[in-house]
Symmetry: C3
Amino acid sequence: MATPGAVHEALAGLELVDHHCHGAVTSGLTPEELASLLTEGEAWPGVSPFDTPAGVAVRRHCAPLLDLPRHAPPADYATRRAELGPQEVNRRFLRAAGAGAFLVDTGYAPHPLTSPAELAAASGAAAFEVVRLEQVAETVAARGVEPDEYAARFRAAAEEAVRRPGVVAVKSVAAYRTGFALDPARPAHAEVTGAARRWLAAAAPEGGGTRLTDPVLVRHLLWTAVDLGLPLQLHTGFGDADLRLHHADPALLTDWLRLVSGAVPVLLLHCWPYHRQAAYLAAVFERVYLDVGLALHHTGPARCRAVLEEALEITPFRKLLYSSDAYGLAEFHHLGALCFRQGLAGLLQARVDADELSLPDALRIAAWTGRDNALRLYGPHGLQGLHGLFGPPVSDPARDPSGGPTRKV
Amino acid sequence: MATPGAVHEALAGLELVDHHCHGAVTSGLTPEELASLLTEGEAWPGVSPFDTPAGVAVRRHCAPLLDLPRHAPPADYATRRAELGPQEVNRRFLRAAGAGAFLVDTGYAPHPLTSPAELAAASGAAAFEVVRLEQVAETVAARGVEPDEYAARFRAAAEEAVRRPGVVAVKSVAAYRTGFALDPARPAHAEVTGAARRWLAAAAPEGGGTRLTDPVLVRHLLWTAVDLGLPLQLHTGFGDADLRLHHADPALLTDWLRLVSGAVPVLLLHCWPYHRQAAYLAAVFERVYLDVGLALHHTGPARCRAVLEEALEITPFRKLLYSSDAYGLAEFHHLGALCFRQGLAGLLQARVDADELSLPDALRIAAWTGRDNALRLYGPHGLQGLHGLFGPPVSDPARDPSGGPTRKV
Amino acid sequence: MATPGAVHEALAGLELVDHHCHGAVTSGLTPEELASLLTEGEAWPGVSPFDTPAGVAVRRHCAPLLDLPRHAPPADYATRRAELGPQEVNRRFLRAAGAGAFLVDTGYAPHPLTSPAELAAASGAAAFEVVRLEQVAETVAARGVEPDEYAARFRAAAEEAVRRPGVVAVKSVAAYRTGFALDPARPAHAEVTGAARRWLAAAAPEGGGTRLTDPVLVRHLLWTAVDLGLPLQLHTGFGDADLRLHHADPALLTDWLRLVSGAVPVLLLHCWPYHRQAAYLAAVFERVYLDVGLALHHTGPARCRAVLEEALEITPFRKLLYSSDAYGLAEFHHLGALCFRQGLAGLLQARVDADELSLPDALRIAAWTGRDNALRLYGPHGLQGLHGLFGPPVSDPARDPSGGPTRKV
């Protein structure tokens, strides 16, 4: 029954939903700027960011899309990239990603980045927006607000933000601000007012330092996110130098997840190196999901399958999603997709070949994790229209109460 | 010297000691009940528990034992299971497990489960009992006790419980109640009395809420366990939704293990995803042991070898044991055994094939971990009689002081 | 382009820099002493330390160097080792390691060990010294010092120690003493004096208990290390029973690393099972490096590649170094090197074979991690002279600003 390579073929042809990414830079890049965007850290003197698993993967898998040989030297790569210009570079990589939809976090843009509409135009895919709630809160503070009005104003601003067309989810970077070792309870109004008073007072003198790092306000933000009713994306695990990695272990969210009790879908992003912890949460809490975005292109084709194997050890197959978490370099929108397709296909095909998994099951799992789980989650919030674009999802079959593969793929 | 497949053959024929499991359900199951028992979480609307690594493994490896084709659909599986009835289903799977003995935790039974004697009858193996100490303590409380008598009454009740024929070990689920970030010291009598007073007072009004979660009483329970002199099984790592996973990291037990100082064997159960931490403890503390039960059937044949590879990275080969941690579904008594045999055989055979391990060493390691380490640990407490059943253990050869393989297998 | 086995060949011929090890025992060993040195724990009655992954690896890979068959029994091994005597045993294993230089931690010697000069003579390699700062501090205390002079006297003693010829780095075992969950800030002088007063007073009566475990003094030691300007080696992760493993997670150092801000190179030693956390730190902080020493020979050839695969998932290739962390048994100086060569070659060759990595890139990565990253880091502090010994490093090519492989290997 198992055609050799059938899973690879199916995944190669699957229009992915990249459920969490950022825009691509719209300006040309000097070699130094390119190097800096290649890494989650910075470019360091004498140490090339190309000398990393991600850098090696870019030279191997992205160079050919710029008409260069595989493994092209970094200098050639930078030159050719500059020659083609950002528009053409973005067009090539974003189309190569083969996504049907991108969900774009628009709340972090130290560089000039494509808007969702520009990303859609460049990629030929649909693009949707994810609202970063810390940015909403900080904008409320920057515009001036009385401490006892902060809670209501933030809530109103967030509600307004998510009413914008194309918004399908909210996101929090609480992991960066306080970490997850927080009191899980919803803070009382007086507590929020007191914390807002301290925050706004501290911020005022400099007129800019409104970075939200107060633990009470971060808790308040997470509970406000729940009230909004949209799927909530949470940065967990791996990120840049501004993080305490161990505070971003999603297991620390357990008590909060228990209190929230499935009010909204919670999507644990990235997760590495705590993807097994995330898998446990996804296995025991009904509306908890995960992806291994960011880790896909940073570990590269050499290791992304291993990371996916660990992430899927106990994760229910309806609970894993695909994201690239690409930021800045359109290379990463492409590389994330490539790593996901290759890694997952390798994993599934090996199980089919060992007769541990039937081919129809493997194909369903591929479609679910690459596309349908996202459609199912975000669909009620605006991705619905995509069903036409994607064709009927594999994920809504008429099924008996015990579920399972009662439908041909 | 290495016959191809010799390790697989040896493990296939080895009568295992499943040193930690629960009973199998004695009632028929609706499809919903079956689905619910398939997962450590619950069955969720629209998401089949069959769509998990464990569910896939059940359809692949258990369906044929119910006369169904491999990868049978869940609905067919549930129907056929109901048709055969619980007795026949249990008989088939429990015999297929190929265990010589089951050690059964009898302290957790939200469903009607086989007693050890019933498990023995259905499986054709011997069955022994593991006393769950939290249940003993809660029974003492439920029956009414003065706070200053709690310590003595609990101790007496525990001593009585372990004197019952067939009891070979005690168990604690402290991981669920407080986690392991406890003061490691033995609590003073006054402290225990004070804590018991608060606990019993809080429990009284409702007349039922005697769940033991007080940190002083949990510490007291652990130290009482040590006093009993029997091997102590500790839940660590992976479990159901009632857990804070990171509080169940066995590394948190380090100070307590140092104080206990090998007074009794301590068996770290399950451990995933902290099996490397458990391996460290087993490598440096004389009487600390581990297994990867529960993770075997939840990760399935596709990943159990990888988990065993990690668990055995530095673990002395006399320190790993086999358990299924099966609960409710006899499928899991079988699947745990199958995963252990396949995973360990794959691991060992690959090392023999690469000439990194001699075949006699591989066979010794298989016999030790699957059976003899358990016989050695539990033997003085009642498993001794099994030596006849099992034939001479590989684990007690006359050896020179530096140990080692001076004996043919 | 890729000659089959070219990476294995290159790594087999590469003169390694073992950037962290200890001396080898200079006395003969009874079977019991041999057994005890085989493990990070102790030898336990009835459980042979040969029945571990490291013991199996010694019998497989070290026995032939003692003219014994592969997989020789432990008793034969111990007999033959005693027969040859420590000098000959050390000579054989240290030469087999194929290192060009050993960096020797001289601050821990419960057994009679080779000095760096003796290690150099036995191995035919160069040997350098790493000063363990806890030993310097404890010597200052043991000799008698007024509390308010402690800071200056420790600083002076450390400066004197690192001025000795051949010293190229300092080391701290803070992981063992307090763990890394420390206040990261540099302690004020008064705080140090107060802590020194308590420490010296507590130590005085017994006249020997000057073990440095005070959190303020450990912080002070780490900051003094930074002031010295030499590369700083930090024990992290796996070690002996005197450790709380989870307190040695290098992620706990994040805030301190941020404050130190690259003032000196910080080398995270061992790291297992937190090597992914260490990799994250190496990826985002400019002067943070890691190795997986100790884990190499303890996991053995069967698993060292897997550990290296995880360690290199996101680690920049200029950030991984080689160390054996061998202590006592020269077997481990050899086995560490063998595991590193085999594991890394397997990893790199597989990527070359899959065309995920070019052969020249693979060869550069091998030379960097096995030798040149160490030369680059320790070179300014005295390893410079080795450049002649080693031939021109691959690591200093004239490169374009974005770096990369512009030079043939």
